[in-house]
Structures are given as C-alpha cells and as structure tokens.
C-alpha cells in the first residue's frame, strides 16, 4: 500500500471512490466481480460509510476495511462469497446487517471498535473465528450468545471490560473456564490454545 501524499488527501473518502481507486491500483486487472481479496484498509482520508458499491464484489472472500472511521456496518447484499469480514479499528457500536453474509461468513474481525453487545452474531452459523479485542463487552450474557455458533473455534476478547476485570483480579484462569463453559468447542482463546485439562474443568463447572 503506497503512502498517500498530503496534498492528495481530501476530506471524505466515499467507499465507492476508495473501491474504484483500489480496482485501478493494487487490484489492477481484476474486475470488481472477480476480486477475491479486496483491501480498503488504512485509507487516508478514512472511509466513513460503507455503501452499495460493495455489492459488486460477488467473488470477494476477504473484504478488508480495517483502520478507517466506519461507524455502522452497511449493507453486505451481493457479497455472496464473503468468508472473512475485517472491520477492526473503526467506530462500530453494534453488529448489524450481517444477514446477507451470515451463511458464508467464517471469520469476523472486529477488534478496536466500541461494540458492547454481540446481538446478531447468532445468525452467523458458520463462524469459525471471532476477533473482538478492545471493544466494550462487559457482560457474560454477551458471551452466552456465542454458544449458538457450533463451528466457533478461535475467540479473542482481550482488552474488553469483561476480560480486564478478571485480569486485574489475577483471575484469568477462572475467566478462561467461564468462557469455555459457555463455548465448549473453542480450540483457541485469546491467542492461547485450549488444553485438555481446561476443557475438562470447564465441563465440570
């Protein structure tokens, strides 16, 4: 990704223009409907709104929108092949509009946002990976929602108030058991593998 020259930086970055620029630059030679990985990360000026231009990305498996200023997940209609949705380091407050990709989505990357509730995640029945560090998740009831995801194996919650509270009390082993009790299929939690002893201890809880 080339550095942006200061004088080229205008105020807003409509998603449509950012996508057109990517298709003309790093994605050159690929039609929107053929691109499998589309990288609109760390743009200056940042993207603030997702718009309908994304609907053309019908072959896209990995849509990278991290490090922007997006405050709302926009429509994902048309992204029929989407497996990895990357929205880390934006200004998201909640999960929404995931219905269109719920059937194909395998990984959702959401770290460094302001999300306090995971309502809506239940629909993503194929989800294997959820990265949600440094958000505002406070309640165990939000972790409870993840029990509806049979494929979920890699979960990251570091830096949420829920995690920090247990960390500050030097109680991370107990915190891990509390998570595993709710999401017993996890293979990795907060970057560390779940071991057999932990799994057994959580099952007894």
């Amino acid at each position: 990704m080339p550095a942006v020259k200061a004088n080229a930086a205008a105020k807003a970055a409509p998603c449509k223009q950012a996508l057109a620029k990517w298709l003309a630059g790093p994605g050159a030679g690929v039609e929107a409907g053929m691109a499998e990985k589309v990288e609109l990360t760390g743009l200056c000026p940042p993207i603030e709104k997702m718009d309908s231009s994304l609907a053309a990305l019908c072959a896209c498996r990995h849509l990278a929108l991290s490090t922007n200023n997006i405050d709302k997940i926009g429509s994902l209609a048309g992204l029929e092949s989407l497996q990895i949705l990357s929205l880390g380091r934006n200004c998201l407050k909640k999960l929404e509009n995931l219905e269109a990709v719920a059937g194909t989505l395998r990984e959702l990357w959401l770290s460094y946002n302001q999300i306090d509730r995971l309502a809506g995640i239940e629909k993503c029945s194929q989800l294997r990976v959820l990265y949600a560090s440094n958000n505002r998740i406070k309640e165990w009831s939000e972790v409870d929602r993840l029990s509806a995801l049979p494929e979920l194996e890699d979960l990251l919650l570091v830096g949420n108030p829920l995690y920090n509270e247990w960390k500050d009390n030097s109680a991370l082993p107990q915190y891990r058991l509390e998570v595993l009790k709710r999401v017993p299929g996890l293979k990795k939690l907060d970057g560390l593998p779940v071991d057999v002893e932990e799994r057994e201890a959580a099952a007894k809880k």
């Binding site: 990704m1 080339p2 550095a3 942006v4 020259k5 200061a6 004088n7 930086a9 990360t41 760390g42 200056c44 000026p45 940042p46 990278a64 991290s66 490090t67 922007n68 200023n69 990357s86 880390g88 380091r89 934006n90 200004c91 990357w109 770290s111 460094y112 990265y131 560090s133 440094n134 890699d154 990251l156 570091v158 830096g159 907060d190 970057g191 560390l192």
Partner: protein, 154 residues
C-alpha cells in the same frame, strides 16, 4: 521436509527480532520516558507494539509528516506500557505463536509509511528504533508460520 525448510526460512526473522531487542537497554527506555513529546515515528512504532500486545490504541487519525500522510500514534498508552519494569523482558518472551491475521492487517498501514524503518527511527531516537524491526519481524514470522503449520499437522 518442506515444513522444516519453511520453518528454517522464518529463523532470520526471529534472529532479527531478538537482535532488535538486544540493541535496546533499560536505560534507553528510561531516557525515552523522560521525553514529553518524542519524535513522531517513535509514537507510531509504539502503536505497533501496543497492537501486537492487544493493548489500547486511539481511533485512526492521520497527520502530515514531511509531505506524507501517516497514522498518528497515541503515546499515553505507550508511556503506561513502559512503566512496567519488565517491559523489555516481556517482548523477549512475547508469545509470537499467538499473533493473528487481524493484527498483521492492523499493522500494515504503519509499515506503509515512507519513514517507518530502522534508519529513520534511529536518527530520530536512538536505540529504541530496534522496536521497529522487532514489530516487522513478528509479522514476518507469523506469515511464515502460517504457511508451515498445516504441513506439520499432516
């Protein structure tokens, strides 16, 4: 085997990471802490360390540094991190196997800045520039290990 050869190719990245850390002394950290407003590139290097450790960074904001727009660094969190007496040791013991694809993607925009390299950082602030190489090496290690892991599991 293929997997062994691939792993061996990650070794230079790991050696570079360790050498980068060994070039930094506790005294370097102390003198950096004394600076109210360190050079801009140093703040950005510390953002990368914060991201690798899943510690807080600010909302993405951009600033003009010598004609190029670069991500701004949030220094307060870096100061907090350096307050830990074991800061350097915790980087030596950093669980590199725990790095994930998202983190590597979040570091990408920092790496793209034209002055984000050891030489520029060294000029700006001496030995802590080693952290720039450390962060890059960690990402490189992850990319190699990701290719290797499935082969080992077979």
């Amino acid at each position: 085997s293929d997997a062994e050869e691939d792993l061996a190719s990650a070794k230079p990245a790991l050696d570079a990471a360790l050498a980068a850390l060994n070039s930094i002394t506790p005294k370097d950290i102390t003198s950096l802490k004394a600076l109210r407003n360190p050079p801009d590139v140093i703040k950005r290097i510390f953002d990368c360390v914060l991201l690798l450790r899943h510690l807080p960074v600010s909302k993405a904001t951009w600033q003009d540094v010598k004609g190029a727009m670069v991500l701004a660094g949030a220094y307060e969190e870096a100061v907090k991190m350096m307050g830990d007496m074991n800061f350097l040791q915790s980087l030596v013991n950093f669980p590199k196997e725990a790095i994930n694809d998202e983190t590597v993607e979040l570091l990408g925009p920092y790496f793209a800045a034209p002055d984000f390299n050891f030489e520029a950082a060294k000029k700006a602030s001496g030995n802590v520039a080693g952290l720039c190489n450390w962060a890059k090496s960690m990402c490189k290690y992850h990319e190699v290990a990701k290719e290797v892991e499935p082969k080992i599991e077979k």
